[in-house]
Symmetry: C2
Subunit: 125 residues, 2 copies
């Protein structure tokens, strides 16, 4: 199970950077919840999750997992990764910690992302 | 609130390294829960939390917060830190990711620690 969870984490981070949205949605169980960032309203189910990730579709973006931060404990995982987006002549880098809970099939049933605007760095390209 | 949460995270990591146990317990709300590591039975309330942390009392230990990993979002925080223990002529280093949820008074109401034996490093002193 640990390796399966680790694989899903790697796929997740990669897909957030490349899409397609539908492949991200498929990593989630049908009634899964997403709270991103933590403290904001929870989105539940594939439709709401699809809507959330589809905002990335038109962004010039890339991602990188901080592989040495991946922690798997039971059916839970936590990890840090970079999301880099380019808007105009600026590059924005956000580095959240995400936590995930998995079902017995290795589908994500709960995701929560820990970040705030304070964690956003910007620099000219 | 963000700065208050950040302060509690710093105090928490420091106190896990130095004690006393009672000062750690006081960071928690009376009916708080601790799940450490994730996937193991949840401990609830000050008595259970005191019992959990008191096992550290007799260990030769130290801690270090990875300050650049602290993420605060709403009433939630996530962070990575080292726990170093010395047993005989070996030094063991565990680097978990912890998540915490806080009440309006800045007390921890929920803590979950993400780590497994796979994340434990040992080296001769």
């Amino acid at each position: 199970m640990t390796q399966q969870i680790r694989d899903v984490v790697e796929q997740y981070v990669k897909l957030v950077g490349t899409g397609p949205t539908e492949s991200i949605v498929e990593l989630y169980a049908p009634d899964a919840t997403v709270e991103d960032p933590a403290g904001t309203p929870v989105r539940q189910g594939h439709d709401a999750i699809r809507e959330f990730y589809s905002v990335f579709d038109n962004l010039d973006r890339s991602t990188a997992l901080h592989a040495d931060t991946v922690r798997v404990a039971g059916n839970h995982a936590a990890f840090m990764f970079d999301v880099v987006t380019k808007v105009g002549d600026q590059r924005f880098t956000l580095t959240p910690i995400d936590t995930m809970e998995f079902d017995e099939q290795g589908k994500i049933i709960k995701m929560r992302a820990y970040w705030s605007q304070d964690d956003m760095r910007s620099e000219p390209i």
